[in-house]
Symmetry: C2
Subunit: 769 residues, 2 copies
């Protein structure tokens, strides 16, 4: 299964069709523009196994919770990413035979996802029997320039026969979610209309009452002449516009379809129909080629900001670009109500749109590549959900403005329904606080902290203060009953990572409150939050006496209390056939084993690197990494970064491949459900923060590049405090192009260096730093 | 809500109708005969909230598992107790008005469950308006003598008007389960037939293909004359036999319906129709009154064995009889394929039929009251499931014949689907071994142990040997990731109770294997189980080095490692409004609190009383009981027994009331879903083992009666090794009637006494022993 796609620096190429890979390819070939996206479903009918998926950012359905045994405090529903209007659909009949790649013989199949242009293209020859060969070429994109527009082309050529062709262009809103808990239909109140020129379908979601309109314009051309439609058949859910024509041998017909999709998420309901039509009319007026140009230009701009070049390792080059490409397709940062779903627009799985992935993994990517405005929208998203986070904590028995952010959410309400996650995986609150710190530290700009961040920090600090309990036995504060980022342990006491980040939250909040107590906005903050400095007395008591499990003899932090009672076995001793554990072992066996999904002690050492010396990081890395199965897609990247810090470059490279090619090589055997979008930001981190050694130290940008021996060069761009830096690393030098009108002091391998505008070049051995 | 039923020594009386209590009354007024049973649903139509329930022992449906997030190892289905044919149903129209107690005005309503006779009766007057009063009297039973027969009478009398009456007698197999996971219909392949004399409906369960036939014979009499039916309307699922007649003022009409219910659980499928008809014909030939006589006689025999008399406390008297009555209605011990469902025939909830309740709570009851044969059937049930228990363990990764009995089962396969229970609440294996020990110790008969028990013990010992792991840190064997009987802790390490009983299992198994190694059946056992004495070397290593958490300072066993890190608060400090916790607190809050559903350390001290001195029991009782919320119905009885042992008679009495009147007073606010059948055996234990002080010591029966000051007398009967003893306890004496032809040596308050056949009387203060 692995490597069925070819290696290419700018393209994902599938050079042949195999229905066993089809669902996987549909995930890989997903396209999107941050506002909407779709899986790589075929245009023509396909009767084999397939997951049809068309998704719109912000449009969700609260699907009634399904659990075996209800626990008090579970959320009533799980917000599902919603499968919406399927507009690329066609029915194609040639000489009375329906085209269906599951049934037809095909040859010369090639699908190409052109990442540079953001364009999905396919071409193939259908062998219709009796020696009839039919060539089909397709192309589609979701416009990055005009973000309510999708467009496609579908060209048919009978290569060696005269053909009678029937084509039906569909706008189909008769769709369901595969993962509906009770086979419910999420869309109701369908309607459709058409005229000679434009088709339209609309639907409204049950319960949430989101309204969506899709307007479509289909045109057919052959030999420079338009073909008009014979007939249009419409139901309330689907419009079928029908064409019929004869083609002579070698003559092509090309169908072009342009659609606009607008929703009540952006527009007043009563204007939706007219707006959608207007948007479409403008696009049709521009024409397909112009739309495509604008789209490609927009992508060129994106690549200008985001591209990473890796020399000498085509597979890594392709992978990093794919990761960056997918992230940009998923989230563009224009709207603080949106976020980055774990599957983006590539599948239904996991529902919700926001996990702690956003703060811990995605924020650094967007902050360094697209700048502070986009990153700030990610922070604002949580700020706007603060009242819901307070409500959520209240449901669990917390009081006085304590905020527990949800594990999974769409609109600020908790969606997840496993007690060990929903109620116990509370470290997410830590990551949300840490993101405020990360943003502030990176930008050097404390205005967000003052205007919004502090209020979030107060809610989070209040939560931790109530969640810690005092152990008389230990004479210390403890966190009982938690699940750490390593979800292969549930309901443990004193997870080191959680205790550490909780203490950090309290401490950072106290520091920042004291720093800004005289600030002009402080009184307003107090009024909004009801904050009183007296609260911090107890917080400080906790800060001074948090229990952090540690083993003196081994000199390691304990993942949780009692971890050393386990039988400690390295992953290397497990039979290959039992991996991934989650697919082969019962849950209890995983839980009581030493094996780690993602090592959270190491996650903590990554977040708080400056608190620890290298020997401590090394001892913990050497203890935990060998027991880590990396069955969370978020795991390898952080381990790769730490391996870089420890100059374990080979290890770092291995782990980088695991994160960067996770979907392209289907490493976790689950990409058919969708791509692992948020971990793609982790891939970027492993390059820029890992191999690039980027961090903020002493209020300055710090770089310590190391280069795997597989690479001849690495270059990436980052935005930093109104400077744009292009960093080029080769085995023996590091040159930094500073695009700025001012010099910039940075740290290079820990030493101060002043960059001048233009190219700055430094000689180093980056492979053996 | 509490005490809406009147106190009466032999009857449960509802003196008035309140639709708000209807579902609760339906549970309380359930009837059954061990083979089948039904909730106290009304005969006539009732349009208000109601849970219709008719259940047949052994007939179940494997309902596809519903979980939020699938875990490897979960069972595919949950075996559901199946709602079956509703045969008591009638439609009654008087002067064109349908009788429906939810809508009609009614007066003089009285429902009586006569526990002595096993008879449910109701009478009431329906006020039809315009001054018309209609009296209705009903009666029904499931024959304890003829266990495939149910019978009912329904008498209508217009008290003060001439009435036109229409009556439709139903056999209705168009039924569903309320708790179906996916609203599936569990019965398919319905069929029906009728002739002038007999109606019949049949149905087959989907998947399991159980076939059930219900034959019914309805007759109507008025003034000594039969009324014939006008019409019979049948669909495949339901037969409606229709009568219509005029009654003059004061004239009664009485409908009698007798049914037989037979199933493929007992008969070959091709004989089912004819067998059911034959069984019914014989019953009809006997006639209703004879059937009733036989039934009442059978109950008289039951009461002869089971009755407990409590003098001076009518509420306790009623309660203990209700508990004994329901246990006998649920399980009669004739068939080793059947077991005691937690709700018996009183509701759908919990599905399955067998929990560890059977071994830990029900076995002592049946063993002492109905004798060794019935108790042995309970043991054989598990013996027959040994291969499934081995399969179950294999699914979780265990090997070489290790057996893990399921948490919930119908046919030996696991049904439960919460990982913290299914995979972790493994102490059930201990209770199953302990039951073999209990039976053997009580009967003094080791033949079951040798012929069957040892094979089960080997499977269980193998499981524990693999489940223990060695902690290098502790230098001891540990059980990581378990849930004890206190289900308000999940996934803990070293639950004292589990570790203790696991060690005991290994130790008892080794002892018994060594004891019987020369037995003539031993080679056959080795052949069946593949057992080799070498296995015991490792078992002995474990036995010697099991970690049992203990706190030196407090002198208590720790419920689990780390328990003392919790904030320890007595239940008495909780606001009443937050109880029961499970209905008011989020699950995580319960888990990290000190509050205990049932104190499993105390369960262990009860099981293994002889291993501990009184001071140890007292220290642990005083530490744990105050933190115990008793939110398991199985909790109060064991605590009551220990309180008796510690001469805390008031405490014991309080706890006895809580278990004995759990359903009658709806203490847990959930009896509307069905009664807590298995905990009723715990009530019996709290009387006989608690107040009676019954145990086996030095291979002799030991009694140490104590009497709550509320009671003037207590008497109960037990069977013990071919002796029948009736024990009468008053505040100042204990007399024991030995029905036997031989004397019996017993221990009375720890001192040896020889009982002679006939009455033996001893003077004691039983209230201050």
């Amino acid at each position: 299964m692995k490597r069925y796609l070819s290696i290419d620096p700018w393209n994902i190429v599938e050079g042949g069709f195999d229905p066993r890979h089809h669902r996987l390819s549909e995930s890989i070939f997903s396209i999107g523009n941050g506002k909407m996206g779709m899986r790589g479903n075929f245009e023509e009918q396909y009767s084999g196994p397939s997951l049809q998926g068309n998704y719109l950012a912000g449009i969700y359905y609260p699907d009634k919770t399904r659990v075996g045994w209800w626990k008090n405090g579970y959320p009533e529903y799980f917000a599902k990413v919603l499968n919406a209007v399927h507009w690329v659909g066609l029915e194609v009949m040639v000489d009375g035979q329906p085209i269906d790649l599951y049934k037809n013989d095909i040859s010369r199949y090639k699908a190409v996802l052109d990442m540079k242009k953001g364009l999905l293209q396919r071409e193939f020859v259908v062998k219709l029997g009796e020696g009839k060969d039919l060539k089909i070429c397709t192309e589609r994109f979701y416009s990055m320039a005009d973000d309510e527009i999708g467009a496609m082309k579908y060209e048919i050529t009978p290569l060696n026969f005269d053909a009678k062709v029937e084509l039906i262009s569909l706008l189909d809103f008769d769709v369901v979610n595969n993962d509906a808990n009770y086979d419910e239909r999420f869309w109701t109140e369908h309607d459709s209309s058409f005229d000679a020129y434009i088709d339209a379908v609309k639907a409204v979601t049950h319960k949430t009452r989101f309204e969506v309109w899709c307007h479509g314009h289909t045109s057919l051309q052959t030999g420079g002449q338009p073909v008009t439609s014979q007939d249009v058949a419409a139901t309330s859910t689907c419009i079928r516009r029908q064409y019929s024509l004869g083609l002579t041998r070698g003559q092509s017909v090309c169908l072009t379809k342009v659609v606009s999709i607008v929703s009540s998420f952006y527009y007043a309901r009563d204007l939706l129909g007219s707006t959608g039509r207007k948007v479409l009319e403008e696009a049709v007026h521009l024409g397909y080629e112009t739309l495509l140009d604008r789209h490609v230009q927009a992508w060129a701009q994106k690549w200008e900001e985001h591209d990473i070049r890796i020399e000498g390792d085509a597979s890594a080059q392709q992978a990093i670009r794919y990761n960056i490409f997918m992230l940009n397709q998923t989230y563009t940062g224009k709207d603080a109500r949106l976020n980055i779903g774990p599957k983006g627009f590539t599948g239904e799985k996991y529902g919700g749109s926001t996990y702690w992935d956003t703060e811990a993994y995605c924020l650094p990517f967007y902050l360094s590549t697209t700048g502070a405005t986009v990153a700030k929208n990610l922070l604002l998203y949580r700020y706007h959900h603060l009242p819901k986070a307070i409500e959520n904590a209240e449901k669990l028995g917390f009081t006085r403005g304590a905020a527990l952010y949800p594990m999974v959410t769409m609109n600020g309400e908790e969606c997840h329904n496993e007690w060990e996650i929903t109620f116990e995986e509370i470290h997410r609150n830590g990551a949300i606080a840490f993101a405020i710190y990360y943003y502030t530290r990176y930008t050097g700009d404390e205005t967000y902290l003052i205007s919004h961040g502090l209020e979030v920090l107060i809610g989070i600090a209040r939560f931790w203060a109530q969640r810690f309990s005092f152990s008389k036995k230990k004479g210390q504060f403890v966190l009982l009953g938690v699940t750490g980022p390593n979800e292969y342990e549930n309901n443990v006491n004193n997870n080191w990572y959680t205790n550490y980040i909780a203490r950090w939250c309290l401490s950072y909040t106290v520091q920042m409150l004291e720093k800004y107590r005289e600030h002009e906005h402080f009184e307003a903050l107090k009024a909004r939050s009801g904050f009183d400095f007296q609260e911090t007395n107890y917080w400080k008591e906790i800060i001074d006496r948090v229990y952090l499990p540690y083993d003196e003899k081994k000199g390691i932090f304990l993942q949780q209390e009692g971890f050393l009672d386990k039988e400690l076995i390295p992953v290397s001793e497990l039979p290959e056939s039992e991996l991934p554990l989650v697919q082969h072992w019962s849950w209890d066996r995983i839980l009581r084993s030493c094996f780690i999904k993602q090592a959270d002690v190491l996650q903590g050492l990554y977040f708080f690197e400056e608190d620890f010396d290298k020997e401590t990081i090394e001892r913990n890395f050497d203890f935990y990494e060998p027991m880590t199965v990396h069955e969370s897609s978020l795991s390898p990247c952080v381990h790769s970064i730490l391996a870089c810090r420890l100059q374990r470059i080979d290890k770092a490279y291995q782990l980088f491949l695991r994160t960067s090619r996770l979907d392209l090589d289907n490493i976790n055997h689950d990409t058919e459900d969708g791509c692992h979008i948020t971990s793609m930001a982790g891939t970027w981190m492993s390059v820029v923060i890992g191999f690039g050694g980027m961090k903020i130290k002493d209020n300055a940008l710090s770089l310590s590049p190391v280069l795997p021996h597989q690479w001849r060069g690495l270059s990436f761009r980052i935005q930093f405090r109104n400077h744009l830096l292009e960093i080029n690393i080769t085995p023996d030098r590091c040159s930094i192009h500073l695009q700025s009108d001012k010099p910039l002091d940075i740290l290079l391998y820990g030493k101060k260096a002043t960059l001048q505008p233009g190219v700055n070049s430094f000689s180093f051995s980056t492979t053996k730093p």
